[in-house]
């Protein structure tokens, strides 16, 4: 069953082509990653798939439905965590979750959500006083409020310390175990390798490679590497001559 599919997506901003004929298929129950450097078009792509942006060309289907005809239903069934969103500083964790939960016709209770993301001890703290990792966990909790079938995550662990990243990965793994589908973007190769069943490597708005991380590494990365076990970073370098992150 198809979770998300898009065909020949195009999005232009003036002269810049952010998304250049991009096609993807994500199956239900899998965790799919869009891996690429900053400016590759990952956020634009995922926002089109989330129904927040209209493409200039191309078709999008989510859970077998289109945005044009089924927006209300889709919004009830999806969970979204956007890049760089700052939730209201002066609401508590609890109040924020309750607000998001109110939008959905069914979903988990606020207590369940707090337990899921391990923020029970912070339920009465103001959002503005949380650490970066706690804020991200809250954002994911908000995305889970409606017990979604599909999660869209845009760079879910950027800027987090290693422990917070691992906590979030475990949370996402549990979501998958319960049958959820995940589409995420990242520029961290270890995240793509650890979390994703399949990965599409994106550069300049196009998919330049697609497949399971191990297969991609075997096919494109490992032969080039002498000093360490091949990684998706190596795959990217092999394909483009550049690194995923400008260090």
């Amino acid at each position: 069953m198809i979770g998300v599919s898009c065909t020949n997506l195009v999005k232009r901003y003036g002269d810049v082509v952010a998304v250049d004929g991009l096609s993807l298929r994500v199956s239900r129950g899998e965790c799919f990653g869009l891996l690429g450097p900053n400016g590759a078009g990952k956020t634009t792509t995922i926002e089109i798939l989330e129904g927040l942006l209209e493409p200039d060309a191309g078709e999008v289907e989510v859970l077998g439905l289109t945005w044009k005809e089924h927006e209300r239903e889709l919004r009830q069934r999806l969970g979204v965590q956007l890049q760089e969103t700052q939730l209201a500083d002066k609401l508590t964790v609890e109040e924020t979750l309750r607000l998001f939960r109110s939008f959905y016709h069914r979903g988990r209770t606020v207590d369940e959500l707090l337990r899921l993301v391990e923020l029970e001890s912070k339920r009465r703290s103001w959002v503005g006083k949380l650490s970066g990792g706690q804020k991200q966990r809250l954002a994911v909790a908000c995305a889970l409020a409606g017990d979604p079938d599909l999660l869209f995550l845009d760079e879910p662990t950027t800027g987090l310390d290693p422990q917070s990243r691992r906590q979030l990965w475990e949370l996402l793994a549990r979501f998958r175990q319960q049958g959820g589908t995940i589409l995420l973007t990242t520029h961290y190769m270890d995240e793509a390798e650890t979390l994703c069943d399949r990965v599409a490597i994106i550069d300049h708005g196009k998919v330049i490679a697609e497949g399971a991380p191990r297969e991609l590494i075997t096919a494109l990365g490992a032969p080039r590497v002498v000093t360490h076990q091949g990684t998706l970073e190596d795959v990217f370098v092999a394909l483009t001559g550049r690194h995923l992150r400008e260090e």
């Binding site: 927040l52 919004r75 956007l82 760089e84 002066k90 939008f103 016709h105 209770t109 103001w126 409606g146």
Partner: protein, 352 residues
């Protein structure tokens, strides 16, 4: 979807949750509370001190030095409503300009009056002084009218002023409170996050106005009560009438606030828009001085302004006990601004 029962996990419907969230944010912002409550009281106190209005103020005159100035001073010594003030030589023109004296008497024979006829106090001073000096010179009047002094409660400047300040407060707190918080949410990308959820756009906008209304009662009530109990302003309107007028006013400025905040991306932009909108009304809507001072050609525009409508309605209701039917025109103007603002805002609102 309508057949499924909706389980919100213990939360209220979204419109209410959004309004409650907005209310909580507002209450947790100390500056906002100051501007909403303390500021109007400070304004009222300051203005009451500047314009005490307990009885009429005397006409203040200065007498230039000259051979007859002593005689003139004596003649005015017992004139009712006239006070002679000493001015240093050479300072006369400045004193006239600054309003320290309303009239200057040059002690020629007959005397010469120097004053600006455009100033009411100066014209009154001229009449009182002329009357006193002519009487002292022996004029006799054919008859003296009888006088029956009438004290009308609510006719002081400060009585007229307080409803204006309440209107100003409703405008300011509605517009700033809504405008800034929306622009901030837009800048934080919170609006984008919200529309990625099933939240309905119109409910978000309605909740911005609704969340503010809870504070309307104290925001309007506190200055009115302060005016009544501390400054002696009479309140002739019914509670229902006053509440309805304030409510419609708050809704009007809520709608306008939504409209102004519908696309602004920075605090500079929203501040500029707010000032552009509010300053003309501060000046033209009859807050501090009557709007009828402006030329006839501008009156239709002035009367169409929402603050003018609100203040006129408030003055009529509070000071004269007008019914809601009597201020129906003003309420209609306010309703049009509120609904129009909301409808247009919903259409052009920038969520991303």
């Amino acid at each position: 979807m309508t057949n499924e029962s909706i389980d919100r996990g213990g939360a209220w419907p979204p419109l209410i949750e959004l309004a409650i969230a907005r209310l909580r944010e507002f209450m947790r912002e100390p500056e906002a509370l100051f501007w909403a409550f303390v500021f109007p009281i400070l304004m009222s106190v300051a203005l009451a001190l500047a314009f005490p209005g307990g009885g009429s103020k005397p006409a203040i005159v200065g007498i230039e030095a000259g051979p007859r100035s002593a005689a003139i001073r004596d003649a005015l010594a017992h004139a009712p409503g006239v006070t002679v003030r000493d001015i240093r030589a050479g300072n006369e023109a400045r004193a006239l300009r600054e309003g320290e004296v309303h009239l200057l008497i040059v002690p020629t024979d007959p005397p010469t009056y120097r004053f600006d006829a455009a100033r009411d106090e100066s014209r009154v001073a001229r009449l009182l002084v002329d009357d006193a000096l002519k009487r002292a010179a022996g004029r006799s009047d054919p008859w003296s009218a009888r006088e029956e002094p009438v004290q009308i409660a609510g006719s002081r400047y400060v009585d007229w002023l307080i409803p204006g300040i309440v209107g100003l407060n409703i405008m300011g707190s509605s517009m700033w409170g809504i405008g800034f918080s929306i622009v901030q949410s837009r800048m934080r990308k919170l609006l984008k996050r919200l529309i990625a959820s099933p939240m309905r756009k119109r409910e978000y906008l309605l909740a911005q106005i609704g969340g503010r209304l809870v504070f309307l009662a104290p925001e309007a009530g506190v200055p009115l009560l302060f005016g009544a109990f501390v400054l002696g302003m009479p309140i002739h309107g019914s509670l229902v009438s006053m509440s309805v007028v304030c409510l419609v006013g708050a809704l009007a400025f809520g709608g306008i606030g939504l409209l102004l905040a519908s696309r602004a991306r920075t605090f500079e932009a929203i501040s500029g828009l707010m000032n552009l909108t509010m300053v003309p009304m501060w000046v033209g809507s009859g807050v501090f001085f009557s709007s009828s001072n402006f030329p006839q050609a501008m009156q239709p525009v002035i009367q169409a302004l929402p603050l003018t409508a609100l203040i006129n309605a408030l003055r009529n209701v509070v000071l004269e006990g007008a019914t809601l039917a009597a201020v129906a025109r003003e309420l209609a103007v306010l309703a049009a601004w509120g609904i129009g603002g909301f409808v247009v805002a919903l259409r052009i609102f920038r969520w991303r």
